[in-house]
């Protein structure tokens, strides 16, 4: 707005100066004209008086003046004045044009009286003429040969001498006003023609800066405005392309970062968070949006991450660290690198977090498993080789003793075989499970269970255990693998038998529970301390290593039970306490049912 006001002021100043100049010139012109006009009238008056005077001087001295009326009338008409020639007494001798001027006694008139008194030209202004307008009367005494012979008298309306002046002034005012108005008009026009398009362009540029996309006006004009407009339009187009390109890149980058499995945190030189992706926020238990812009040490206290960011360089080795959130403990693999801008200056650092918890856990499991297996395998093998060595060394061993040794070797070999079988079974289950290759068929659950029961019953009896079975009367149809289910029942029953001292009892019941089959194997044996419950289904886990190995257990029985249950879409649960027996419950979905709830 100030710009416009300035332009107004400039226009005003220009118009004012122009006006003042014009007015001054016109004023001087008017005065000159005015002077000229009134000068002419005065000259006319004086000329008429002079002529009248000369006439009077010539004729009034005679006793018989000549014909004066005509010359006086002639003069009056020529000068457009009232004229009168008076004798020495002030009586009109001749007058023109109006008859009123013929009034005979004119000596009383002021100018005549004054002329007579002063013997010089006298003037008087008083109302006169046909309308009573102010009139200037002049009287000049006429002398001839030293004698006053008369007066020359003239009258002229005052307005005639000044009329030109006021008319001219009105004209002058009119011209000035016109000049002022046209100056303003031209200035406004110029302003409009020049600055309005510029302001329009400025408005367009502003809208572009705000992200709008108005079309540029004036691009087709041939003058400088058109050049400017075309340049602006071109710039707008190129800017838009670049911005779109940057936006697209940014969206891509964010999508890449957002879709990564690893967590990414980027900080600037002041250690403020530039970017933190979803996974990183989850790992650290923060929200990405509230962490942006904060110093990184307010977002996380994990020393390893802060150090990694602080010492980021391309050669820094990755480090692994354990962190714990209230929900779980993680192992994170942390890799950091510096952030460099286009001119290779350090702008900050970025750190990548990889959750290797599961990886390490599996590695640990595998390590433990291998250690366990080799230990389990070594023991019977060592026993066998020990005993065969003894036999080989002692050539004279009595047959009975030899027989006992061979018996022991047989037992160990059996044990080894059982272990290897169990291992194979478990590994088959696991790999088949992974690829879902187990040969499932529709079968009656009572069949594998009955088979297992029949196998276990004599063993229980021999040990002096009460054995009770309860199976339903109708078939219990499931989708499964007969062999695995037999193994499941076998393992549960053999555990029950092994861990229940003589005089105790074992019971197996198979019932329907909603759309699941429920198999419960209960014993009154030594029970399992709740401390071990969450680990007892692990491979080779034993509550008391000494006792269970002595009984020939492989440590894999329950692992197989759990795995069979899981691969059939069911699960197994345990209730037990020390010296209060154990109860294993296996839930399996009936055919047509969905997987069992956990």
């Amino acid at each position: 707005m100030t710009r416009v006001r300035t332009r107004w002021r400039a226009g005003l100043a220009l118009a004012g100066v122009t006006c003042a100049f014009l007015t001054h010139v016109a004023w001087r012109e008017a005065r000159a004209i005015d002077e000229a006009a009134s000068g002419r009238e005065r000259a006319r008056l004086d000329g008429a008086i002079d002529a009248l005077h000369d006439l009077g001087e010539r004729e009034l001295i005679r006793d018989e003046p000549g014909e004066l009326a005509l010359p006086v009338e002639h003069l009056a008409r020529g000068a457009v004045l009232e004229l009168a020639l008076l004798d020495a007494d002030g009586v009109a001798v001749a007058a023109a044009p109006t008859p009123a001027f013929m009034n005979r006694r004119q000596a009383g008139y002021a100018e005549v009286a004054l002329a007579r008194a002063t013997m010089a030209e006298a003037r008087h202004v008083r109302p006169g003429g046909p309308h009573g307008e102010p009139t200037l009367y002049v009287a000049r005494p006429i002398h001839s040969h030293g004698l006053l012979v008369g007066f020359a008298r003239a009258g002229i309306p005052v307005a005639r001498i000044e009329a030109t002046r006021s008319a001219l002034l009105r004209l002058l005012a009119g011209i000035s006003g016109l000049a002022l108005v046209s100056a303003f008009g031209l200035a406004a026009l110029a302003r409009h023609r020049l600055s309005a398009p510029l302001r329009q362009m400025a408005a367009v540029a502003e809208r572009m800066a705000d992200g709008g996309e108005p079309s540029t006006p004036f691009t087709t004009r041939a003058d400088e405005l058109g050049v400017l407009a075309r340049a602006l339009a071109g710039m707008a187009g190129r800017l838009r392309e670049r911005l779109e390109g940057i936006d697209a890149e940014r969206t891509q980058l964010l999508a890449v970062l957002g879709g990564m499995v690893e967590g990414v945190i980027a900080v600037d030189r002041d250690d403020r968070v530039l970017h933190i992706n979803k996974v990183a926020a989850q790992l650290l238990g923060v929200t990405a949006s509230t962490s942006l812009g904060k110093p990184v040490w307010e977002v996380t206290r994990i020393p390893a991450i802060i150090e990694a960011l602080g010492t980021a360089s391309f050669d820094a080795p990755a480090r692994e660290v354990q962190i714990a959130t209230p929900e779980r403990a993680y192992r994170l693999w942390i890799y950091s690198a510096p952030l460099r801008n286009a001119s290779r200056k350090n702008m900050g650092a970025v750190v990548v977090l990889h959750d290797v918890t599961e990886l390490r856990r599996l590695e640990n499991l595998r390590r433990e498993f291998v250690a366990n297996v080799s230990h389990e395998l070594k023991t019977p093998v060592a026993a066998i080789s020990g005993m065969t060595d003894t036999m080989l060394d002692d050539e004279a061993m009595p047959a009975e003793r030899a027989r006992r040794f061979l018996q022991k070797i047989r037992e160990q070999a059996d044990r080894l075989a059982k272990l290897i079988n169990d291992l194979l079974a478990l590994s088959r289950l696991e790999s088949a499970d992974l690829e879902q290759l187990l040969p499932f068929a529709r079968l009656d659950l009572r069949d594998p269970i009955s088979a297992s029961v029949e196998h276990a019953r004599p063993v229980a009896q021999v040990k002096g255990l009460a054995f009770s079975i309860a199976l339903p009367d109708e078939p219990v149809w499931v989708h499964g693998d007969d062999e695995s289910l037999r193994q499941l029942a076998d393992n549960l029953l053999s555990n029950a038998i092994n861990y229940t001292p003589a005089g105790g009892s074992i019971s197996l019941t198979l019932t329907r529970d909603g759309d699941h089959a429920l198999l419960v194997v209960r014993d009154t044996g030594i029970g399992i301390d709740p401390v071990h419950h969450h680990r007892i289904f692990e491979r080779f886990y034993r509550t008391d290593k000494a006792r269970s190995r002595a009984q020939g257990g492989t440590g894999l029985g329950l692992a197989i039970v759990k795995h069979v249950a899981l691969s059939h879409g069911g699960h197994v649960a345990l209730e037990s306490a020390v010296d209060q027996g154990s109860s294993f419950r296996v839930l399996l979905p009936l055919e047509g049912a969905s997987a069992a709830p956990r």
Partner: protein, 235 residues
């Protein structure tokens, strides 16, 4: 705030949080080493204490330097004073963690058979939570969060008292377990001390934010939320 002052203050806060992170990690590791019987982890904790001690000294010097150079007032002064106190408390927590780690190395890799491990596990979870909450309150300058820490201290004291009783019973029943029991008791005491120090840190945060010194005020009034009936009781 001149730029130098602002930069020094930021550095102080960053270092304070760095030592907080180190101490938090030490406590985590010490607890884990104890519960999982991992002697190497315990040794890691013991070895890492030197860095914590060095950092404490460094931080104290930086804090005093700021006080001398910039002579801050009002909220800035409270921040520095609180930071120096929290710094000391953190270093002491670090020492407690070392104590726990030493007990772990003495106990060795033998798994414990007693229930006490469960109580220690529960206690240490509570203590870790208190430490984490008080440090979160410090980061966020959140006095409301800080006040919740004191309420959790009672549960820890309760655990510790029960440990005493259980110790006594266990040793009476089976004098063989005395050596293990004594070490468990020491761990419990150290955990209880860590909880107290976490409460101290929370009190320092309240001072920093509100200018109110709530130490040693009797009972619930001190840590009650502002405006609650307990806070308005006459002393």
């Amino acid at each position: 705030m001149t730029r130098h002052f602002e930069r020094d203050m930021m550095r102080l806060e960053r270092e304070l949080l760095a030592i907080a992170g180190m101490v938090e990690e030490a406590v985590l590791l010490a607890v884990r080493a104890l519960i999982e019987h991992k002697v190497e982890l315990a040794q890691q904790v013991i070895a890492g204490d030197r860095a914590i001690d060095l950092k404490e000294v460094e931080l104290e010097e930086d804090g005093l330097k700021i006080l001398a150079l910039h002579r801050p007032v009002a909220v800035d002064l409270r921040f520095i004073v609180a930071a120096l106190k929290v710094n000391n408390d953190l270093e002491r927590i670090g020492d407690m963690a070392v104590n726990i780690a030493e007990r772990t190395t003495e106990l060795g890799a033998r798994p414990s058979t007693s229930d006490r491990i469960e109580r220690i596990r529960a206690m240490s979870e509570q203590v870790l939570k208190m430490v984490r909450t008080s440090l979160n309150a410090l980061v966020r300058h959140d006095a409301v969060l800080a006040r919740t820490v004191r309420q959790q201290d009672d549960a820890v004291d309760d655990h510790h008292r029960k440990m005493y009783d259980e110790m006594e019973q266990a040793v009476r029943a089976n004098p063989e377990t005395a050596s293990e029991a004594l070490r468990h008791l020491s761990v419990s005491r150290n955990l209880e001390r860590i909880a107290d120090l976490a409460t101290n840190i929370a009190e320092d945060v309240i001072f920093m934010v509100e200018g109110d010194v709530v130490r040693h005020r009797l009972g619930k009034r001190a840590m009650a939320p502002v405006g609650s009936p307990e806070a308005n009781e006459r002393r």
